[in-house]
């Protein structure tokens, strides 16, 4: 195998694939990236056995072939090469080493045979549809903050992606929850997605996917089977196993008849919560919201730091009400609202509160109060 590639192109592709590789591996081969030189250029492949990214970069291939080399080391070297440099990669099976040459630098890296690299079986994908990069980004960005990190509830450790029906309209929905709050975001169901299986996309795949989306501007093709999901970009493909579990029946916890409605300027509220929560104690972050006709008062106190109160104008017509929230959760949600105003639908201080962007009904956030 022998090829020449521009440092920039190599760095970009390596950057995508190397972040899949775990820092510590018991299987040496999993620390490596699979390099394959072929007619389309250099293809790079990294996996942690649950998640795989394959990316092809343009390269001038002199001799076809394949090998594997330590991903993080390789990335580190390429990162430190000067901008605009040309990189030559070569591998002779009898040496057992990958040689990297650039300018006056020469590196020899321990290689492991390409045959040992675990390839994800390609399998059959029963459903394929495509959607714009921006749409996928919006589904992810507005839900991922609510993904659970508690590993004992593994079925919440990802985004639940499925087709649903919202008042007669077919939608593609992304839902995430950590049991304290929930985010539900939807978009019109793309063509070809009808009848797709409901799947849970793991947190790590979501994070890697998000990085790839940033550089994609074309449509993204999504393929689904019962156990896999694949996202195909122009030159890169991300394949992930799905979480094998049942996502809870989330519809049941989204109240529909909360009758106390509050409308507030999203930015003002965000800033006020941010300020007042400076006082609430480090870990519990409790903040109290007191509602009266036409106004909203935020307060927090901690025996350590003192107390804070801030009042802001708000549209509220209901009876006086006091309700506690984790300020961080509140901020997380307010951050998702792009429009000027947020609408809160509240039942009482012990039941879930629903938050929505007044100007955009595609996202619903549910927040469980805190009892202080």
């Amino acid at each position: 195998m022998k090829l020449t590639i521009e440092r920039t192109a190599l760095l970009k592709s390596l950057g995508h694939v190397q972040s899949v590789v775990e820092r510590r591996n018991t299987l040496a081969i999993l620390s490596n990236v699979l390099l394959t030189a072929g007619p389309e250029g250099l293809s790079l492949n990294a996996t942690d056995m649950d998640l795989e990214i394959v990316e092809t970069a343009p390269a001038e291939v002199v001799g076809e072939g394949a090998t594997t080399a330590p991903a993080h080391t390789l990335y580190d070297i390429v990162r430190k090469l000067p901008d605009g440099a040309q990189v030559e990669l070569s591998f002779e099976p009898e040496d057992g080493q990958l040689t990297l040459r650039s300018g006056r630098s020469r590196f020899a890296l321990a290689a492991l045979p390409a045959g040992e690299f675990p390839a994800m079986s390609s399998g059959a994908y029963g459903h394929t549809f495509s959607l714009a990069a921006g749409e996928l980004r919006s589904l992810i960005d507005r839900t991922r903050f609510a993904i659970s990190t508690e590993e004992t509830r593994y079925y919440l450790n990802g985004i639940f992606l499925h087709a649903a029906d919202n008042g007669g309209v077919a939608v593609l929905r992304a839902v995430a929850t950590d049991g304290h709050r929930l985010a539900r975001v939807e978009m019109p169901l793309p063509e070809g997605a009808a009848g797709m299986p409901s799947v849970i996309v793991p947190r790590k795949a979501v994070a890697e996917l998000r990085k790839l989306i940033d550089e994609a501007d074309d449509d993204i093709t999504v393929s689904l089977s019962e156990s896999r999901i694949r996202f195909a970009f122009g030159s890169a493909t991300l394949t992930s196993k799905l979480i094998d579990g049942t996502f809870p029946d989330y519809e049941r916890v989204i109240p529909t008849d909360n009758d106390k409605l509050l409308e507030a300027d999203c930015k003002l509220l965000h800033q006020a919560v941010d300020r007042v929560s400076a006082i609430s104690s480090e870990k519990s972050r409790a903040i109290k919201v007191s509602l009266e006709k036409g106004s909203l008062t935020l307060s927090a106190s901690s025996p350590e730091a003192g107390s804070a109160v801030e009042e802001i104008e708000a549209g509220y017509e209901g009876p006086p009400l006091e309700i506690g929230f984790n300020s961080r959760y509140l901020l997380d949600i307010l951050q998702q609202v792009d429009g000027d105003a947020a609408r809160f639908a509240i039942a009482d201080n012990a039941s879930p509160t629903v938050v929505q962007d007044v100007a955009d009904q595609t996202a619903v956030y549910v927040l469980m109060p805190m009892r202080v």
């Binding site: 049991g179 901690s302 025996p303 805190m370």
Partner: protein, 629 residues
């Protein structure tokens, strides 16, 4: 063939429960002697009690008729009113002597206390069969000899452990009785050596039960215990708790050295040990156990002692009351002791500063400078600071008598090279003379930006600034939690936990207490709990795991410390982040403020991990280091 078992066999079966090893036989005999009102009890063992257990007492004694009865089954003089609920003696079943007699060769020699010398008799029983009753020569009191224990039941013999282990068990049994009865003198010997010697206490000491107890405990547990123990005395609804408990810095790796007594009876009881664990929970590293001796005095009707063949366990009619009393009293005592720390730790530190290779203290002064550096090295490696301290200490020595000598103290300074540059610019407050109201003294400087050195009237104190501050922050947070309640996060998706039905019921019964700690749950059919709210402090937590831990703990100890523990851990982590680190320079004002806060904060003597936050070197110790004593 259905038949009544012969008496000997019945007794052997009972013996299987009452006497399982030499130590239990010894215990029964000594209890009998105590019940007989003895003031001195001398026990002898040969071959760890296998070939001989002899107990001599100066008690009431027995007539020949009484002796004959005593070895009959269910003959007792200790239930005069036929009332099992009112047990005033250690024995009450009338089972011990016949049981022992059925498995060994037993002889009783006794003379009733106020009778003439010719009224002493000896009765021998062998394998359950009464042999002869003969006149004997004996002082007032009783001597019981048990020879060839288990000769009649060889299977038992096989279960005995090594002589050494059996002897250790016997010593432990006797010591426990000795701790329970400081008014009686005890000895235990193996014919050559006295293994236990608990002498009679002088009458003036006996007049004060607390001092008598401490004196006896010290005899058993060693001088260290007395130096590191706090007296407990509390009463609640007619139940009294007295005793001495070790400081949290004076611990063992097992719960072996926890001695518990109920109405003068040594017991091992889960309720009591659980209560002790609960009381120390905040101040002790998980795997350490305090040393203590606790005496519960309670109306005999409120406690059932007839639940265990060897009477080692008891059952309280109101366990919650007793538990509450113990936890409350111990916590209170520990909190009051606030700033005390184990002197033994100081002793260890002192050991560490001794010049190497000069074990006896008297030679310390001859160690020379070389030796000093080696010695200090283990404790305070950088020479300039070490010299500074050494110089400081030396210049302190003359101030021994006139400790409030303002002029001298004001003139006292660290030599320049030892001075902390950060402190030089600090407009140091005029150093006040260390007073008795400031047990941690007046800060004199900081070494390695980590330890505060403070001067007290009779020595010096070294404080680990990070450990100490961390403890202060934790105490403040706990106080805040206790005051304002634990904020709870309601769950959007309630967690359903499946347990075995008994465990679920136990947890559900504690729902109220758990809610105070931020955990709201309710029963949902047998074996199922629904958790609706969790302590916000825990963030997103493993609810299933938490509930299971709590269930296990409740089954085992009747406590819910697992939750408190987790909240405590979070607080401790926060406290750790929120406190002054090692390596941070402090001004004298800051140092003194920290010392004053420590004095004002209960339990500040240990850090959150159970290590001491400060140690003291007495002036006498310092003088010894310099060979002045």
């Amino acid at each position: 063939m259905l038949r009544r078992l012969p008496a000997t066999l019945v007794n052997q079966i009972a013996a299987g429960e009452v006497v399982e090893r030499p130590a239990s036989a010894l215990k029964e005999l000594v209890e009998n002697a105590l019940d007989a009102g003895a003031t001195r009890i001398d026990a002898t063992l040969a071959e760890a009690g296998r070939s001989l257990i002899a107990v001599l007492d100066d008690g009431r004694g027995m007539t020949p008729e009484e002796m004959e009865l005593a070895v009959e089954r269910h003959a007792t003089s200790k239930l005069p009113d036929d009332d099992l609920l009112d047990i005033a003696f250690l024995g009450f079943r009338g089972e011990a002597l016949p049981s022992i007699a059925s498995v060994a060769r037993l002889s009783l020699t006794s003379r009733p206390r106020d009778q003439a010398a010719d009224s002493a008799w000896r009765l021998t029983v062998e394998g359950g069969e009464k042999r002869d009753l003969v006149p004997a020569a004996h002082p007032p009191g009783t001597r019981v000899e048990v020879r060839d224990l288990f000769f009649a039941t060889p299977a038992r013999l096989k279960f005995l452990k090594s002589n050494r282990a059996e002897q250790a068990a016997a010593i432990d049994a006797l010591q426990r009785l000795g701790m329970a009865h400081p008014e009686v003198a005890f000895t235990l010997s193996d014919g050559q050596r006295r293994m236990v010697d608990l002498p009679a206490l002088p009458p003036d000491l006996l007049a004060d039960p607390a001092s008598a107890r401490l004196s006896r405990l010290t005899r058993v547990l060693g001088r260290d215990f007395a130096d590191n123990a706090l007296a407990v005395d509390a009463e609640r609804e007619g139940v009294r708790l007295v005793g001495h408990i070790g400081l949290p810095t004076f611990t063992r790796s097992t719960a072996q050295a926890q001695y518990l007594f109920v109405n003068g009876r040594p017991v091992r009881d889960r309720l009591l040990t659980g209560a002790v664990r609960g009381a120390y929970q905040d101040v002790l590293a998980g795997h350490r156990h305090p040393v203590l001796a606790l005496y519960v005095e309670i109306d005999p009707r409120e406690v059932d002692v007839n639940v265990h063949p060897a009477k080692a366990e008891v059952r309280f009619r109101d366990p919650a009351l007793v538990r509450g009393l113990i936890v409350g009293a111990l916590r209170h005592t520990l909190a009051q002791a606030g700033v005390r720390t184990a002197t033994t730790v100081s002793q260890q530190a002192l050991g560490a500063v001794r010049p190497e290779g000069s074990a006896p203290l008297a030679r310390a002064g001859q160690g020379g400078r070389q030796g000093w550096h080696g010695g200090w090295g283990t404790w305070s490696p950088a020479p300039p600071s070490a010299e500074a301290i050494a110089a400081g200490m030396a210049s302190q020595a003359p101030a021994a008598n006139g400790l409030a000598d303002q002029g001298r103290l004001a003139g006292w300074e660290l030599p320049p090279q030892g001075r902390d540059p950060a402190n030089q610019s600090d407009p140091a407050p005029p150093p006040e003379p260390p007073g008795a109201d400031h047990p941690l003294g007046v800060a004199r400087g900081q070494v390695h930006d980590t330890y505060i050195v403070a001067e007290t009237p009779d020595g010096l104190v070294i404080v680990d600034q990070h450990a100490a501050h961390e403890r202060l922050v934790l105490e403040r947070m706990s106080a805040a939690l206790a005051e304002s309640g634990v904020p709870r996060q309601a769950l959007l998706i309630p967690e359903v936990v499946e347990l075995d039905p008994a465990a679920a019921e136990r947890l559900a019964a504690r729902a109220e207490e758990l809610a105070d700690l931020g955990l709201v749950l309710e029963a949902f059919g047998p074996g199922t709990l629904i958790v609706r709210e969790t302590p916000a402090l825990l963030g997103e937590t493993d609810v299933q795991g938490l509930i299971r831990d709590l269930a296990d703990e409740l089954a085992e100890t009747d406590h819910t410390t697992a939750l408190k523990q987790r909240l405590g851990d979070v607080c401790a982590t926060l406290a750790c982040h929120g406190s002054v680190r090692a390596g941070r320079r402090l001004s004298l004002t800051e140092m003194n403020a920290l010392l004053r806060q420590m004095e004002a904060t209960p339990r500040s003597g240990q850090c959150n991990h159970g290590r001491p936050t400060w140690v003291r070197l007495d002036k006498t110790d310092i003088e010894r280091l310099f060979g002045r004593r």
